[in-house]
């Protein structure tokens, strides 16, 4: 991995004083390659490495570390700082029940994640309700109902074929009920699709969500910034959930998305079961990205 490569090029002498200009340049090349292989967006890599270069040039190598170890420590600290720094709890509602919307590309894991989040809140004493607004994907509403039931989560199924009408029924039902958290699952869509993005904006205007979670597949490549920006600039992404992190993907999309939108990554999906949701840990993500 990167650690080993840096050890090889920067040598094994401990406590060697400062890193030389040549050392830093060689190290930056390796880091750039590692981050690109990890799917961090090319432009984010350039900015990140430029900032890193400054830090490394000024750095004093601790007597207990080799130059390679020192550089890795700086990189890991920088990555962790960039990835983290935000609360990972869901936003609380000002008054009344909280309404959360799950949005994102096709197949990212929204439906599965809706139930996972509901289950998490249920364990904390909340009374969650899930409703699907997906009238597009065949058997989407059935899927949510089945997954919710298996997890012991209440699922309401309003009648109709228009997402906006379903959304209205969902919030009306929710307001009258004694559920205190509502999760709205939406159909997958491309940020490129203006009509579908406007549909989402209309749902948002109607339900006034406490928070909108953008669900993103952790194996997404360079396009992650386009997706995140596409949703975020329309006010359709307050926070991020990264899914399928139980794979061996390096997950560089995490850095890209955070760097470009500044939105916090709050949760990660680590499996298909409803219990397989974890709070996002920036240091763990940093290690995963560095491989």
């Amino acid at each position: 991995g990167l650690s080993q490569r840096l050890q090889e090029i920067l040598g094994k002498l401990r406590g060697r004083g400062r890193l030389s200009q040549a050392d830093v340049q060689a190290a930056m090349r390796e880091i750039k390659l590692a981050l690109l292989e990890a799917d961090v967006n090319y432009k984010v890599v350039k900015d990140f490495v430029a900032g890193l270069q400054e830090k490394c040039l000024g750095a004093e190598i601790l007597t207990s570390l080799t130059p390679g170890q020192q550089v890795i420590k700086i990189v890991r600290d920088e990555l962790t700082a960039l990835l983290g720094g935000a609360a990972s709890a869901l936003a609380e509602a000002d008054r009344g029940g909280a309404v959360y919307m799950l949005v994102g590309l096709q197949g990212a894991g929204k439906t599965t994640t809706a139930v996972k989040l509901a289950k998490r809140l249920q364990a904390k004493g909340k009374k969650p309700l899930v409703v699907s607004l997906d009238t597009h994907r065949p058997a989407a509403r059935e899927q949510l109902a089945i997954v919710a039931e298996a997890a012991g989560i209440a699922c309401h199924r309003p009648q109709g074929e228009e997402p906006l009408a379903l959304a209205r029924q969902a919030v009306d039902f929710f307001a009258q009920s004694d559920y205190d958290v509502l999760f709205l699952d939406t159909a997958g869509r491309m940020h490129l699709d203006d009509a579908l993005m406007e549909e989402l904006e209309a749902v948002k205007a109607l339900v006034k969500p406490t928070e909108i979670l953008l669900v993103l597949d952790a194996m997404t490549g360079q396009d992650a910034v386009n997706v995140a920006e596409g949703f975020s600039r329309r006010g359709l992404a307050d926070s991020i959930v990264l899914t399928k992190l139980d794979s061996d993907t390096r997950g560089g999309a995490a850095l890209s998305v955070r760097a470009v939108t500044g939105k916090p990554i709050k949760f990660v999906g680590v499996g298909e079961k409803s219990a397989q949701l974890e709070v996002f840990h920036p240091e763990r993500m940093a290690s995963q990205i560095l491989g």
Partner: protein
């Protein structure tokens, strides 16, 4: 000046091309190899045509057979079920007899999703009961009369991560059972989301260790992702890309065309 390979302008042109390919998910390793190969021809035809030629060379696959039974496998959410639905429609439009086997007995409402697709495209389908053994579903499906008389049998399977040993063993068994039922008639197609990054290399590598993929399907190429990972895959493996998914409707599947793909990929 750039045609003759030297100078700052040529270097800048190369740098821009490298950035372009990297942003398309071609990845650092494949990008370096392509630019090295293009460097040879660059002086005579220019950088962009040289890169175009190299990509076309890489992506011109030799597709030997078109097998009757096509099993669709791949990571979760990459578009297997939808691709089965679309391909059934594609073949039906050509007047072919198609039979679909739903061997995803795990995911909630997978059977209903597939049945709805087959209803819309007027395709006979045998969807295995949730919880039943996928290999048994394939066995039963392939031994049915509908399968015997079909020109094509398309088989959907559950999404699985390439790093999950149990699920990979399950897939290997399913493919083996299919191979016993229909010797020498099996295609194994891996679906890959066009937005996937370098992990696609690990996916194809690991799936290849358990089954023998004979084709790739690149889905969701209707987004902003350029699907450059297909280039990295062509560089490393010789598995032909057979179809491309361009949307969520029944007509949104086309046979892979190297020219169309490269034209869309390059500036």
């Amino acid at each position: 000046a750039t045609v003759f390979g030297g100078g700052a302008e040529a270097a800048r042109e190369l740098e821009l091309m490298e950035e372009y390919l990297l942003l398309a998910d071609v990845g650092p390793v494949a990008t370096a190899k392509i630019l090295a190969a293009a460097a040879e021809n660059r002086r005579t035809v220019g950088l962009l045509p040289a890169v175009r030629n190299e990509l076309l060379r890489l992506l011109s696959f030799n597709v030997r057979d078109d097998k009757k039974v096509k099993i669709f496998a791949g990571v979760n959410g990459t578009g297997k079920t939808t691709t089965v639905g679309k391909l059934a429609h594609f073949f039906r439009q050509q007047g072919k007899n198609v039979f679909v086997i739903g061997a995803d007995t795990f995911r909630a409402a997978a059977d209903q999703q597939l049945e709805e697709w087959c209803r819309r495209t007027n395709t006979p389908v045998f969807a295995g009961k949730p919880g039943s053994d996928p290999a048994s579903v394939v066995f039963d499906g392939l031994h049915s009369n509908l399968a015997r008389t079909a020109d094509y049998v398309l088989c959907d399977t559950a999404g699985r991560l390439h790093v999950n040993k149990n699920l990979m063993q399950e897939l290997a068994k399913l493919v083996r059972v299919a191979g016993k039922a229909c010797p020498d008639q099996i295609d194994v197609f891996l679906t890959l989301d066009a937005g996937t990054g370098q992990n696609a290399l690990a996916q194809v590598d690991m799936f290849s260790q358990w089954v023998q993929p004979t084709g790739l399907v690149l889905t969701k190429l209707d987004g902003t992702a350029k699907g450059g990972i297909a280039v990295a895959l062509a560089q490393k493996f010789s598995i032909p890309i057979r179809y491309v998914g361009l949307g969520e409707g029944p007509d949104d599947l086309v046979p892979f065309s190297p020219e169309a793909y490269v034209d869309a990929l390059l500036p």
